[in-house]
């Protein structure tokens, strides 16, 4: 059987008047049923572009220039826009965006916004659609009479739950969460994670969790990928990812996390800034910031290599 999601060498470029920005420059991965892949990286590394490319929401001047995305047996990248709307968006893939407050329309009730995909997508009539909406709200731990409320009547955490409930109304196979808890307070964040864990257990949904925060990823992901300048530089199971990070960038990201418990350690810094996606350095994209860079790193771009079962790293230091 095919994986839920199979992404092959996906490239999304933005064609601006300043030149071509290679926001996403050759990413491949697969995702199994009920699996969670965490994608970590600094701002501008291409993680949100990856999310919008999977759900085919890249806006001009951006364009998917090559690569394939398979969702179960369907090739998403070859579908026409109308087919993506009919078959994929909000049916098989749902997305939770950053900032719950900005994602809900303030002038419609929660109920109306929740049943929209059912009415227009599945051609259901209003009352059975509302019934489904009520059930979903209960599933995420809210009271079903929230359907009559407007977004401003709810707290941030409740709004985020509504968005999760909304993403589940049409029973998707894949949920893409882009910084789902960044704007939330810690307790609400923990509640949202508990909810996602529980839903995944109950419904067997696959999840892609995109965030800059490595402590957040550890709460959910079985596999983690580090992204740098449009590429994956390390992908591996989360246990070995934290205990044995191989790529210098991953190492840097992990040691820049300030921990609540244990000995007080100064967060380490990664010197410099990520490269301009219009002017990528030759060789390994990370070499200008890498403390371990050698002559080879400046010339040849390293490929992802399997260093232990299911753990891939793109770094020349491993070749020897």
């Amino acid at each position: 059987m095919r994986s839920v999601l199979d992404v092959q060498d996906l490239k999304t470029y933005f064609f601006t008047r300043y030149g071509v920005l290679k926001a996403l420059d050759g990413v491949s991965f697969t995702l199994e049923r009920a699996e969670t892949l965490g994608i970590a990286g600094e701002s501008g590394c291409g993680k949100s572009t990856l999310a919008s490319s999977i759900i085919r929401m890249v806006r001009p001047p951006g364009r998917i220039v090559s690569g394939k995305v398979f969702l179960e047996d369907c090739e998403v990248t070859s579908l026409a826009e109308s087919q993506v709307n009919d078959m994929i968006r909000w049916k098989k893939i749902a997305m939770i965006f950053q900032g719950a407050m900005g994602s809900l329309n303030p002038v419609y009730t929660i109920g109306y916004q929740m049943i929209e995909p059912l009415i227009y997508g599945r051609h259901m009539s209003k009352s059975p659609a509302l019934e489904i909406a009520r059930k979903q709200l209960e599933l995420v731990g809210l009271q079903s009479d929230i359907v009559k409320k407007y977004p401003h009547e709810l707290s941030g955490g409740m709004q985020q739950r509504v968005l999760i409930a909304m993403s589940l109304v049409s029973d998707p196979a894949l949920l893409v969460a882009d910084e789902p808890t960044t704007a939330l307070d810690v307790i609400v964040q923990a509640q949202v994670f508990n909810l996602l864990k529980d839903l995944q257990h109950k419904l067997g949904i696959s999840l892609i969790l995109i965030t800059h925060d490595l402590s957040v990823i550890a709460e959910l992901a079985q596999r983690i990928a580090t992204m740098y300048a449009g590429k994956f530089v390390e992908v591996g199971p989360s246990d070995s990812f934290y205990s044995n990070p191989v790529h210098p960038y991953t190492e840097g990201l992990i040691s820049s996390v300030i921990r609540l418990h244990g000995p007080k350690k100064a967060p380490k810094l990664i010197l410099g800034n990520p490269p301009d996606p219009g002017k990528l350095p030759p060789g390994c994209r990370f070499h200008p910031r890498c403390l371990k860079a050698e002559a080879l790193c400046k010339q040849v771009e390293p490929e992802l290599v399997e260093v232990e079962p299911d753990h891939y790293v793109a770094c020349h230091r491993l070749a020897r």
Binding site: G156, D185, Q191, F193, N194, Y242, I258, A266, P267, I270
Partner: protein
């Protein structure tokens, strides 16, 4: 250590707008109790951390201290001088000694001023370093200090030409240029990427050492507070509920709210994915307009008893340098 700042029973209420109908019916005016009686001391050369969730009043407290907003009541004594109701004219001399760094380096710098102008403004206003040459010299020195080097490259730039980390450095340079004693840092790194965050923290640490500064550090991030502060207070709905050294509070929080907060902080430990997080709290934050009677945390507290619903627990010292506002911890 000497005390630099003493805040006593500081309050800030904002009136809630009433409709005409309510005024005619003589409905009592209501208030948002943004800060509702906080007291603490900041030691010279220390880093005092104020921690809490959004809406708890931590930013309002920071702004009250530097008198960006008028307190409703209470007292603020800075460097042995009561500045609570100091008139604007006299405030200027105080502002030279206390500065603030804001959370968002994208909106705290005026987009139409070059970096040079932005840093020159405080010098002109406070009439420091008289001649333009002297001013330029202090500006370059400040830029070098925050490691925006070489300074002449940055002098002519506008904020939009800089990255988030660089902007925050400019904001720090602007706070530093008047040679203050005390800096309020309101979430100075929360908008920055993790790698940049470490740099800015190190910079704040370095300039603190170099100029014997005292910080009032506002953050929602408990891990950061434990790392950066030497004293810490946890705020909930306008009140301090727990105060002490960060290590002690993180290791063994005494207030049920502190316990709930600390249990919820994510850690980079992959074992966490296998179990749900413990949620030691119920419901949602009450509104700061109609505060619950008794302990204001009682509607959310899992351990609340009948006394909690009636009597407001004050912030009481329970151990050396440990203050808790809870009936169950005495």
């Amino acid at each position: 250590m000497q005390t630099l700042l003493t805040v006593r029973d500081l309050k800030k209420f904002y009136p809630v707008r009433r409709g005409l109908a309510d005024m005619v019916r003589r409905k009592a005016e209501k208030h948002v109790h943004a800060v509702d009686g906080v007291s603490f001391q900041v030691q010279r050369g220390g880093v005092f951390g104020l921690v809490g969730e959004s809406g708890c009043g931590k930013t309002t407290t920071g702004r009250l201290i530097v008198r960006l907003i008028e307190p409703t009541s209470g007292s603020i004594v800075f460097d042995e001088k009561d500045i609570t109701f100091l008139p604007p004219g006299e405030l200027r001399s105080i502002r030279e000694q206390m500065q603030i760094i804001f959370q968002d380096p994208y909106s705290s710098l005026y987009p139409r001023l070059t970096i040079r102008k932005a840093l020159e403004e405080p010098l002109v206003i406070h009439n420091i370093a008289g001649s333009p040459e002297q001013r330029l010299e202090s500006i370059c020195a400040a830029l070098e200090e925050v490691r925006l080097t070489p300074p002449d490259v940055f002098l002519t730039k506008y904020p939009h030409e800089l990255s988030g980390g660089q902007r925050q450095r400019v904001a720090i340079a602007r706070a530093l240029i008047l040679r203050p004693k005390f800096i309020v840092a309101d979430e100075p790194v929360s908008m920055l990427d993790v790698s940049v965050r470490a740099e800015i923290l190190q910079l704040l640490e370095n300039i603190k050492q170099a100029h014997a500064l005292t910080y009032f550090f506002i953050t929602h991030d408990l891990s950061l507070a434990r790392y950066f502060c030497d004293r810490m207070a946890v705020m909930y709905l306008g009140r301090i509920v727990e105060m002490g050294t960060p290590e002690k509070i993180v290791e063994a929080p005494l207030h049920p709210y502190g316990q709930a907060l600390i249990a919820a902080v994510p850690e980079p430990d992959p074992a966490n994915r296998l179990k749900p997080r413990e949620i030691l709290i119920r419901g949602e934050v009450s509104t700061p307009v109609d505060l619950p009677a008794g302990c204001r945390f009682h509607p959310r507290c899992l351990k609340a008893q009948s006394v909690c619903k009636q009597v407001d627990p004050g912030l009481i010292q329970v151990k050396p340098d440990r203050y808790v506002a809870c009936h169950l911890v005495r």
